[in-house]
Amino acid sequence: MPDATGLELIAHELGDTVVETAYFRERATLQIDPAAIRATLEHLRGQGYTLLVSVHGVDYYPEEPRLGVYYELLDMSRVDRIAVKLRVPLDSPEVDSVTDAWPTANHQEREIYDMFGVVFRGHPDLRRILMPEDYEGHPQRRDFPIGGEPVIFTYDEAKWLESRA
């Protein structure tokens, strides 16, 4: 883990694309401009953070820009981690895909698309991965209804039969 000073140094190298840095509980996080994700990851790869451990999505409802994508990087020789995050607005949730440079991102970007509706430009096969392909909505968004469907038990069967008729 770079310490707080190391994080600032990395942010300085990256320049204006860094929106914010956060160092919390020995976790270094860079928040960047969504358009610069590809350049940032390439730069950090040059610094030794070669392994893309995880890509995941966040919903910051009700804040705006609402959707977030979170990239976790690991330097395997120094056992050093750094996280890169970005936020995209709900009306145009588009990020460049990094699948061609980090193939591990393939399924994870599909999952973020499935669950949060973030569209990854340039992804080779951007389909739903967990939910059925004809499913509507992105179920991990926080404004998605949380409850499941009511179960038909004997006591409400009459109601259900009525609705069928």
């Binding site: 967990l130 939910m131 059925p132 499913y135 509507e136 909505g137 179920p139 998605f144 209804p145 949380i146 409850g147 499941g148 469907e149 009511p150 179960v151 038909i152 038990f153 259900w160 039969l161 609705s163 069928r164």
Partner: protein
């Protein structure tokens, strides 16, 4: 050569031993007499019974039934469950078949790998909405008569996974017995299985199969070669039925 069977009266001395030969009573018995125990004496022997006593004797020894009951009895004691597990409940299902619980005692141990050979499906675990059509297809591939057990809370009411991903089994297929629990212990599954046995023997489905249009939903694969020969159509025929007649799914309440 004539075979002569001999039977000693109780308390008689063994033959060949020195003693009074008057105590030794020897009879020649035919096989049916041997089966009856050889007791040719006494007023209780059927040969000596007449009238109401004979009728009572016969009634006490005969069992009358209908063919349906006999068939139901045979079916209910020889289920062939489908070897099918969905989640953690499947572990308990295995244990029910294992040596400690041993549902083989009740004739349930022959787990079948093909739905065509099975007549009972145990939905052991959570059913995701992506899995539901597949399960429904398996159920339709089973031949009548067939039964279904919904095992565990998830399969009956979605349990702790009551969210976007799951669907309760009652929404897409008829279930005969719900076994509650999270997961149910093997004893619970065994209890459910015995309930199902009772249900099959007594047939108290209370008409729900008719209410839910849950009869005659088998998937029958069309004979494509015969069909192509008949109408002469060279086009590819879909060998799999695309529509499931019978039970219709309840209305969708999803707002998403």
């Amino acid at each position: 050569m004539e075979v002569k069977r001999e039977r000693l009266r109780p308390g008689a001395k063994a033959p060949g031993l020195p003693g009074s030969s008057r105590d030794l009573r020897v009879q020649s018995l035919n096989p049916s007499q041997l089966l009856r125990g050889g007791d040719l004496e006494g007023a209780n022997h059927p040969a000596h019974l007449e009238g109401t006593e004979l009728e009572r004797y016969v009634e006490e020894r005969m069992l009358t039934t209908t063919l349906d009951s006999a068939v139901a009895w045979a079916r209910s004691n020889a289920f062939f469950p489908l070897a099918f597990g969905l989640a953690c409940c499947a572990m308990e299902q295995f244990h029910a078949a294992g040596p400690r619980m041993d549902i083989g005692r009740f004739g349930f141990e022959a787990f079948r790998a093909s739905p065509r050979q099975a007549d009972l499906i145990i939905l052991a675990g959570r059913v995701s909405i992506k899995m539901a059509p597949i399960i429904r297809r398996l159920y339709d591939q089973m031949l009548e008569p067939k039964w279904a057990i919904s095992m565990g809370a998830c399969c009956s009411s979605m349990g702790v996974f009551n969210n976007y991903a799951l669907v309760p089994a009652d929404k897409f297929m008829p279930i005969d017995v719900h076994v509650p629990g999270c997961p149910p212990r093997p004893e619970s599954l065994m209890h459910g299985v015995l309930k199902l046995r009772k249900m099959v023997q007594d047939d108290p489905d209370m008409g729900w199969r008719d209410r839910y249009d849950a009869r005659g939903t088998e998937e029958i694969v069309a004979d494509t070669s015969a069909g192509a020969a008949q109408d002469g159509a060279g086009g590819e025929q879909d060998p799999l039925p695309t529509t499931l007649h019978g039970m219709t799914s309840p209305p969708e309440d999803h707002d998403a």
